[in-house]
Subunit: 299 residues, 2 copies
Amino acid sequence: MALIDLPRVGFVGLGLIGGSLALALRESGFAREIVAFDVATETLRRGQEMGVIDRAARSLPELMAAVDIAVLATPTLASEGLLLEMLRNPGSTQCVTDVASVKGNLCSAAAKLAPELAALYTPGHPIAGSERSGVSAADGELFHGQRVILTPGDFTADSSLALATQLWTSVGARVQLMDVGEHDAVLAATSHLPHVLAYALVDALAQSPLRDDIFRFAAGGFRDFTRIASSDPVMWRDIALANREALLASLDEFSGHLDTLRAAIDSGDSEKLESTFRTAKTARDGFARELARRESDAR
Amino acid sequence: MALIDLPRVGFVGLGLIGGSLALALRESGFAREIVAFDVATETLRRGQEMGVIDRAARSLPELMAAVDIAVLATPTLASEGLLLEMLRNPGSTQCVTDVASVKGNLCSAAAKLAPELAALYTPGHPIAGSERSGVSAADGELFHGQRVILTPGDFTADSSLALATQLWTSVGARVQLMDVGEHDAVLAATSHLPHVLAYALVDALAQSPLRDDIFRFAAGGFRDFTRIASSDPVMWRDIALANREALLASLDEFSGHLDTLRAAIDSGDSEKLESTFRTAKTARDGFARELARRESDAR
């Protein structure tokens, strides 16, 4: 039973993630009405044409007055300001949640508000995505069987957390709670740092005097390794800055291990090289098996 | 027209690469007879059962006395000693070539021999492989449409280079000549360095206190980025040591770019971050398009 029978759900920002969640909510029958506000009116028109949303709000306050749950689903850089605006103008909402990849900066911003305003906020992060973007790429199955991390703060009201949990559970996602600092450290290690490394490598090679031969003779392994360097530069600039502290910590940890490997190569320490490579292979093989099992479960 | 009508071809080491080339030569009708020597007699028996080779030689000198072209296809670490042994005991060979990923160490070793012995050697490197290994995984199509880099030295006789070129051309590979130093630098950048980075990252994460959550929440992008960390630790230990100088140069070049990115993150330099990420994305997108075109041509 939902805490609110057939809640009205609003979206601030209707891109791939917002649109996909709206579509999934429509299919799950969780929401009575789905409303959206986006600075791009063309996006709202497209969302209505596709049947992703019931109607568009003309302003943020209009949206907040019309819904029980508000989901912030804009690019990273815009999120902090919009979140504060939403929480300061709660309208009829009983839960404000979001989908940003970095949570620490949003939690810190919310924690500075009056407790009764911050209480509405449940920070969220669905671990799902696509190379595609925009509401036209919305996919109602995107979150099915996938994990959604919620990082409630001391400020978060139980009623807000319960609504956010029900929202995601209704579309087949698996909700897990995590400490916000741990969330940002885990995401820095598994996603943000690999992006920075891939960008740094391709940037270095692109400026090499051997550039032409490098790209001519690179093969499938290099394609896999550098795939994430084809990601959106603006989105990743914003994520790197929003998660700066955790990313720098993760980067420095990595650099320490890389320095050790460099010294082993330099000194011809074959035992150290082999044992390091073997530890990594064992961990990576285990991870790949576990991911394959999860993906098989999700289908 | 072959310089030698229907040459006899011998393999020293009959694994995935040697076995695949033997199978492809059998299918192309290039060779009159295919002979192999391997320290593992079980491998030779399996090669005969599969019809990959005509017969096994019981020793390296016996093989060299029985063939016109000898292909060294052993693991990296064994290659240098075996190459010297082959060139010092040329038997009836007019071309000795190899398939190792690193060429500088083998060229240096050959260059120290008497000129008439070194003249037989044409260093080679097929840019093709598979996650699988061993003669049982031999695939006669492995090299079709793929590139093979030959790095002839000043010591290499034209007749040896011509035979190595014909050997690879007959199985549908595209032969390109390259300076040995450039070869090792290009391979360090596109293959050896990415392996070291992937191993270093997974090794760092495997030792993190957040290890369990890290591997639990890592997703598809991380799987692609770390796929090469599942490679054979012994093979990559040997490659890292054999190509030490070029690998260290490539690693230091990368570290310089990574340091610059780190400083941009630390200081919140969003313009530098975005322009670096954008340069990398453009280069990587161009590479991916070009690779897709090559793969489509190869089919």
